[in-house]
């Protein structure tokens, strides 16, 4: 009970277990290593020292180009997408009090996918591809509204929300499959790659488009952290401790959309990160939302960066979408963590 870092003064007071600080620092270190590694390997290997020089703007122009224009935005994009999806999954799991929730299971990803595929088939030629993210975000939002509306019965219970979400998710899946099947081959291929999820050809413009969303949703999530912790004890206990459970539930549902939708919009329907990253985070840090949030984000970021790295390297010159490898890397690591905890 005493291995705590306590901070107490006139303005603020909090305590953090040293153990969590340690595992958080380790994860940050791993994150930075993966980031550096992703920047240095590729079609051409660039040593770490050169990467650091390039990042500070002191390398020769060719390496500078590879790092700054080609690799950095792509790696950053992968990190942000992973972090956003992982956070969204954590938020949903905490709200629903069920470890099997994630944006792809309760239909948020499904809504974005259906909208994106419809856009690619019917509107892309008229509007231009730049509008794809907008449609995906709107689709995710509509799906969330639909789920919430259908689950409403003088208040929303977590279980109803999941069940309705799974229903909505499969309905959206049906729409997606139908539109793909009914589309010309070229559109179907584009749609299919989008559905797998990829950060191929990510540019600085994409990074700049995604970043503001995270700058809004993350502080909001931190602000809600204490409330989210308390509502995990159940509706009655949380109400008894002074929380408006129903109001919090709406806010948190839309917070999860705010996190997942833009990431999906720019990188496609990368699955599994939202489900597994929070679980990995829970094995590494104490069960408190304010710690789990950055931890899940780091884990999610590492997963997608590594997945993208595999996609780039393993089947050269083919560039396989990152989405393919997320489960391939995440699942064994997760099973390893579970296995180790048996003792």
């Amino acid at each position: 009970m005493d291995k705590l870092l306590r901070v107490r003064n006139r303005f603020m007071s909090f305590s953090v277990p040293w153990k969590s600080i340690f595992s958080m620092s380790m994860t940050l270190l791993v994150f930075l290593l993966v980031l550096m590694f992703s920047l240095s390997v590729g079609e051409e290997f660039i040593p770490f020292t050169q990467v650091i020089l390039a990042l500070s703007g002191h390398s020769d122009s060719k390496i500078q180009l590879v790092i700054e224009i080609l690799r950095l935005p792509r790696v950053l994009m992968a990190a942000m997408v992973g972090a956003a999806l992982a956070s969204s999954g954590l938020v949903l799991q905490s709200m629903i009090r069920n470890p099997l929730a994630s944006p792809d299971i309760i239909g948020i990803t499904g809504g974005a996918s259906a909208a994106a595929v419809c856009f690619l088939s019917f509107f892309a030629s008229a509007f231009g591809l730049v509008w794809l993210p907008f449609f995906a975000i709107v689709g995710a939002l509509l799906a969330a509204l639909l789920i919430y509306g259908l689950a409403w019965n003088s208040g929303v219970t977590p279980m109803r929300l999941v069940l309705v979400g799974i229903g909505v998710s499969s309905a959206m899946g049906a729409v997606t499959t139908f539109v793909i099947a009914a589309s010309p081959l070229a559109t179907s291929i584009t749609a299919y790659i989008w559905l797998t999820g990829s950060v191929y050809g990510a540019s600085w413009a994409d990074v700049k488009a995604l970043l503001p969303w995270l700058c809004v949703s993350w502080p909001l999530a931190f602000y809600l952290a204490r409330r989210v912790n308390t509502q995990e004890l159940g509706d009655h206990i949380a109400t008894g401790l002074g929380i408006s459970v129903q109001r919090l539930r709406v806010v948190v549902l839309f917070l999860s959309v705010l996190m997942a939708a833009p990431a999906i919009a720019y990188a496609g329907a990368v699955g599994f990160v939202g489900l597994i990253a929070p679980h990995i985070a829970r094995r590494l840090v104490i069960r408190s939302f304010a710690f789990l949030l950055p931890m899940s984000a780091f884990v999610g970021a590492c997963l997608v960066m590594l997945a993208d790295l595999c996609g780039r390297l393993l089947f050269q010159p083919l560039d396989v979408p990152a989405g393919v490898f997320v489960s391939a890397i995440g699942a064994p690591f997760f099973i390893y963590l579970l296995y180790r905890q048996r003792f």
Partner: protein
């Protein structure tokens, strides 16, 4: 409002005024007025489905009345902010479930929620009260344990510790002893009794065991079909006719040889030992 009415409002920490409650338009409680005595232990007793749990929930702001009011220190509980209520009244509902992997200490810390804000999330007072709650419930040794790894009695003590950390004058509990063996039932009730004696905490709880209710509670309220059948000191109201009406059961009322409180022995079938006159109904 007359002077005597005002006085009664101020002297009762918690009361209902023509309160009606129901689930899905089905009335469970109809126009009930009831006042809880300050600094006493009150036990709500009654048969299954008589509305006692519903009543307890509405006293804790967990249910909105269809009409009437619940007054906390004279103010309508639904007009107060959730945190204001939580600083004065703690509720432990039936069968709470902790998230997987949560430790006892983390759970107990949650009790401080209504007293904290975003920047002040772990003051000296918070830490002291959590420590004290753990000590009072004998849970200090288990502080770092995960709730899932505890026995039923320890788990219930952990939840009570959370409610104690809330540091309120009023404590509401819904069947705090269900699923516990006799040893742990007594342990929990002793703990609550001590709390009432040392800190004058007003305690209102639903209890199934009439004999334990009679032993620990200063006042007993018997609920029948969503209305108060009778209320008063257990020795005054716990008798054959009351049990017959409220529980629809024949019984013999005797005196507890240790505490002198009334003791209810139900009739029914069973083995007969010795030469005692049979009253097995």
């Amino acid at each position: 409002m007359s002077l005597s009415e005002r006085y009664s409002l101020a002297s009762h920490p918690l009361q209902s005024v023509s309160l009606s409650l129901g689930y899905d338009k089905k009335a469970v409680i109809d126009s009930l007025s009831l006042a809880i005595e300050p600094n006493q232990i009150t036990a709500l007793v009654g048969g299954n489905g008589c509305g006692k749990s519903t009543l307890l929930k509405s006293f804790a702001r967990l249910l909105k009345p269809s009409s009437g009011q619940v007054l906390l220190e004279g103010a309508d509980i639904h007009l107060l902010s959730g945190k204001d209520v939580a600083r004065k009244l703690a509720i432990l509902p039936q069968g709470p479930i902790a998230p997987e992997g949560l430790t006892v200490e983390q759970l107990v810390r949650q009790g401080r929620y209504p007293h904290q804000n975003w920047l002040q999330s772990w003051t000296k007072e918070d830490e002291d009260l959590v420590k004290k709650a753990l000590q009072d419930t004998n849970m200090t040794a288990f502080a770092a344990r995960s709730i899932d790894a505890l026995s039923g009695g320890q788990r219930q003590r952990a939840w009570i510790a959370m409610a104690l950390a809330q540091n309120t004058d009023i404590l509401l509990l819904d069947e705090p002893t269900t699923y516990l063996d006799l040893t742990h039932q007594i342990e929990i009730l002793d703990l609550l009794f001590e709390l009432n004696q040392s800190q004058q905490t007003t305690i209102l709880m639903v209890l199934h065991d009439l004999n334990l209710a009679a032993r620990y509670a200063h006042k007993m309220i018997a609920i029948k079909d969503g209305a108060v059948f009778c209320q008063g000191a257990p020795e005054a109201i716990l008798n054959h006719d009351m049990v017959k009406t409220v529980f629809d059961m024949e019984c013999h009322i005797s005196e507890d040889p240790l505490f002198g409180t009334p003791m209810c022995i139900p009739y029914g079938k069973g083995r007969q030992v010795g030469t005692k006159e049979s009253k097995r109904g």
